[in-house]
Amino acid sequence: MGKLASVGQQLYSGRVSFDFVGRRKLWYAISGMIVLFAISGLLVRGINEGVEFKGGVEFTAKIAATQDNVSKLTDAVAGSGVPEVGDPVATTSGSDAIRISTKPLTSDQSQQVATALKSAGATDVSTNLIGPSWGKQVADKALLGLVVFLVLVVMFIWAYFREWKMSVAAIVALAHDLVITVGVYAWSGFEVTPATVTGLLTILGFSLYDTVVVFDKVRENTRKFENSTTRTYSESANLAVNQTLVRSINTTITALLPVAAILVVGIVVLGTGPLKDLSLALLVGMAAGAYSSIFIATPLAVQLKGLEPAVRAHTKRVLARRGRLVAAPVAAGGPGVGGTGDVDSGGGGTVVPAPAGASTSARRATPSRRVVDSAAAKRTQPQRSARSARTGSTARTPRGGSSTRPKKR
């Protein structure tokens, strides 16, 4: 845990840095594949609409969930004297309930079936009858809600960030989360109910929440990027993502824990139902949302921003300056912080030792560093020299304490 916590510090200072922005092509490719997979699921398997959307009757009978009872109840429904039940589908739900769904029935007919179920041994029966036209309306309304929410979200993001590039990036991330969640539903064949749609809309809010936090930091770090001589726009943005990484992980975990609790308890105790429907959509969507705010939204925002002439010119300036410094042997290199050894680079993140700030004085310089600096300068993350300067006279000792950081300026 101590290690985990100190990673936070290293991420914050930039000594350990995952290259989220620079390696965007990799993340795009990964996400692209997942999204394609999700869409193909939607096309191939389609969505398994719940009874609320297609109309029909769903009976929940309280009875020991055994295979015997399933067939017993199915027979009871078939023999209830209501020909309209069609082919009733019975599944166990939790440990002591069986669910049977039928074609649309009238209220009288559903009562008849419920009576038949009770006489077949069910101690308690719940009925959910949805008229066919109603189901259609519910589905339409859910879709309308989705569209309205997306429009509102676009407006909100635009108003909050005052920048269409960030808005576009946030929307793309949202769409990404939605498609992935829908894809999971398509491939798994889980029933989609109004509760699922509610979960889906909630995800939108949550995913946006994540993105807002990350973008806030990006904005803060890049507010006066023109004045920085050491860091390009994308490097500043990447630092922001790294600095909020611990927070992102923590908020995702704390948000997912209750949702997971609902999901597990819901499935174990109740089987299918609104608890499961809601929490499953939330679980998938929140995980996707945490991923997309880091790996998709920020790189995309940076990429769009990079099209601006001012940013391009600034990047060129910084790189040129860095190139000159690297060429000068005295100024070359940076602190040999052993980030690679401390942090597991799993999850697609790579750990790139940070190059030295421009004003660093004598340093250990290694050949490998030079390669990184020159070949992949754009992706590397310098430490936050400006902030370090604020620490004033306090000497900083990097982990391991092998080298002492020089005072800044």
Binding site: S13, A97, A195, L201, T202, P258, L270
Partner: protein, 650 residues
């Protein structure tokens, strides 16, 4: 610095008072348990979709009227605690807690059926029955209620202003008194006579001008006489008793084709009933056997004791046996006017009058029929004409008689109405005229024991989720984790108080999705603490003393927390507007807790952290405080040192 330092404590005290006030409110409401939704306590939920008959959209007014009528119906079935609400502009939700009440679905969801029929026969509810009430009288609206309608009425041959005023005053007094005295003495059907004392009176002076139009405009007089006699003989009186006293539907009785009876014939039966000693009319030839069967059936019909609407099958073109609210039994003609032909109904005190009256106005086609009926009934002679029954949902709500022809479709029912009874009748008429039908969209029945396990599962999930978050926060944030726990406890107590208060004031019920929303909110609430703490730790890493870091970190975290909560709230709001049914509870819970989250972070967590930053434990970066140097990854530069430096400086 000193004034600033005293603030966090004060804020905490204020928050404590607010929480106390919330619970004080809950205590005043006298309910310590949240109201549970049907899915957690069991019950029946019926979703009705209102549809306008004429293809128009359903207006809010109409929907609220419909809600009122459905409330009446539900209450009429003897169900207590039923909640009727509207949703989404065109739906009505009926929620009945407790056992399965699916049986009332059809009764609740049927279209309001207002029909005007003629009284063919009547009988008191029981031999010992007394006259239910003193006579009601009907006056023409245009003459007695208010001057404007009189002057506006374009088609009428305007009577002199003197005529309308004299008529209403003389008629009511003479007629009602005459009838009860003459008739009851001869026969036992005193109740019937009481009904006949209600008077429908048309515009004075008008009858003469419109009399030539007497032949009924609706049914062809040529076909009726021929078809009637031919079918009648075939009818077997033996079939009559089969349907028994319970069913009001008469379609199954002697197979005379009642739908072929003409309006004139119908009026004639009604008039003869008024004249008859038995209270029973004389049927046209050919219908005698069938009519006998119907009157026999009426004789054995049992009215519901409570005055509730009898369960009858109200078929428009068939005679109907039913009751009024006092238990008087009626045999009624096929419907002569449909309720949808009623343009408006209202209650009020006529301008020249002192007592309450009910006004009704019919539309064009119905006006002609009404004129025809009233003329014939008024003409029928000294014993008084037949009675005109207003039937709502199969129950006679009023059965007045005419004292003059009403040719413009505007009538006024008067008598011993008080404000309540006049309004009740006017509302009933309005409901009947409501051009809405209901389609049953969904019926959900939750078994009580299944609902019980849902409640248990919801609570269990909540406890597990809360425990997991607490454990994680303690593990990661150590001492600060305690702040998270305390904040969550405060948030939970505020939330519970709000749920209690909203339940008492707005009828908010906690449903399973609602509980899920509250649990999900635990994570979202904890998120804001994390945003704050991470900022705080960043500031400490930057070398600030904890006390300074709290303020600096807070300033930056505040914006982020507000933005994030705004997004959450926006999502909850949209969900609430667009979500369907019980899932709304989820959105509501989410929105509520988002607001509470903002309160707790601003008024509890931040002040608490400010206070704690002054303590040795936190301020000097104790190993368990969550601010120790090693934990922050800034070994060699320790927080306590920083703090000391900062204190010296300040």
């Amino acid at each position: 610095m000193a004034t600033k330092a005293s603030r966090p404590g004060r804020v905490l005290v204020v928050l404590g008072l607010v929480i106390l006030a919330l619970y004080g409110g809950a205590a005043a409401a006298g309910n310590w348990k949240p109201r549970l939704g049907l899915d957690l306590q069991g019950g029946t939920r019926i979703t009705l979709q209102a549809k306008a008959l004429n293809g128009q959209s359903v207006s809010t007014d109409k929907l609220n009227e419909a809600k009122g009528i459905i409330e009446q119906r539900v209450n009429g079935t003897g169900v207590s605690e039923a909640a009727v609400s509207t949703q989404g502009g065109d739906q009505i939700i009926v929620e009945i807690p407790g056992q399965d009440r699916q049986g009332i679905v059809d009764q609740v969801g049927r279209t309001a059926q207002l029909r005007f029929r003629l009284v063919w026969a009547s009988a008191p509810g029981s031999p010992t029955g007394t006259i239910p009430q003193t006579p009601l009288i009907i006056k023409p609206t245009s003459s007695a209620s208010s001057p404007p309608p009189t002057s506006v009425a374009p088609t009428s041959v305007a009577p002199t202003s003197g005529a309308p005023t004299t008529k209403p005053t003389t008629k009511p007094t003479t007629k009602p008194t005459a009838k009860p005295t003459s008739k009851p003495s001869t026969k036992p059907t005193a109740k019937n006579r009481a009904a006949s004392a209600w008077m429908l009176r048309g515009k004075p002076g008008k009858p003469k001008t419109t009399k030539p139009t007497k032949p009924a405009p609706t049914s062809g007089p040529t076909t009726a006489p021929t078809s009637g006699p031919t079918t009648a003989p075939t009818s077997g009186p033996t079939t009559a008793p089969t349907s028994g006293p319970t069913g009001g539907a008469t379609s199954g009785t002697p197979s005379s084709d009642w739908s072929k009876v003409t309006l004139d014939q119908s009026v004639a039966i009604s008039n003869s009933a008024a004249q008859s000693a038995t209270g029973s009319g004389t049927p046209p030839s050919g219908y005698e056997a069938a009519f006998g069967a119907l009157t026999a059936k009426m004789g054995s019909f049992v009215c519901p004791a409570s005055g509730a609407a009898p369960i009858v099958n109200d078929i428009p073109d068939q005679p109907l046996i039913t009751c009024d609210t006092n238990g008087t039994r009626f045999l009624l003609s096929p419907a002569v006017i449909e309720g949808t032909d009623l343009n408006s109904a209202s209650a009020g005190i006529p301008q020249n009058g002192v007592s309450w009256a009910v006004n009704l106005a019919l539309n064009g086609t119905a006006t002609d029929v009404f004129a025809n009926i009233s003329q014939q009934m008024v003409q029928s002679g000294a014993g008084g004409g037949g009675l005109f029954a207003i039937v709502l949902d199969g129950q006679v709500i009023s059965a007045p008689g005419f004292t003059s022809a009403i040719n413009d479709g505007n009538a006024q029912i008067t008598g011993n109405f008080n404000q309540d009874s006049a309004n009740a009748l006017a509302n009933s008429l309005k409901y009947g005229a409501l051009p809405l039908t209901f389609e049953i969209n969904g019926v959900t029945v939750e078994g009580p024991s299944l609902a019980g396990s849902s409640l248990k599962a919801g609570i269990l999930a909540g406890l597990v989720g809360l425990a997991l978050v607490v454990v994680y926060c303690l593990f990661y944030y150590r001492g600060l984790g305690l702040v998270v726990v305390a904040s969550l406890v405060v948030a939970a107590s505020i939330t519970y108080a709000c749920v209690l208060l909203l339940g008492a004031s707005l009828g908010f019920t906690l449903t399973l999705p609602g509980i899920a929303g509250l649990i999900v909110a635990v994570g979202i609430t904890a998120d804001s603490f994390i945003v704050f703490f991470e900022r705080l730790r960043d500031e400490v890493r930057d070398g600030k003393s904890l006390r300074l870091a709290v303020e600096a970190g807070w300033r930056r975290a505040r914006t982020t927390i507000l933005a994030a909560d705004a997004v959450s709230f926006l999502a909850a709001l949209v969900l609430y507007i667009f979500a369907i049914g019980v899932v709304r509870g989820f959105a509501f819970a989410l929105g509520l807790t988002t607001i509470i989250d903002v309160f707790v972070v601003f008024l509890f967590t931040k002040p608490l952290v400010s206070l704690l930053a002054r303590t040795r434990f936190f301020g000097q970066g104790h190993r368990l405080s969550g601010f120790d140097a090693r934990h922050l990854g800034i070994e060699g530069r320790n927080v306590s040192q920083m703090a000391r430096l900062a204190r010296k400086g300040s």
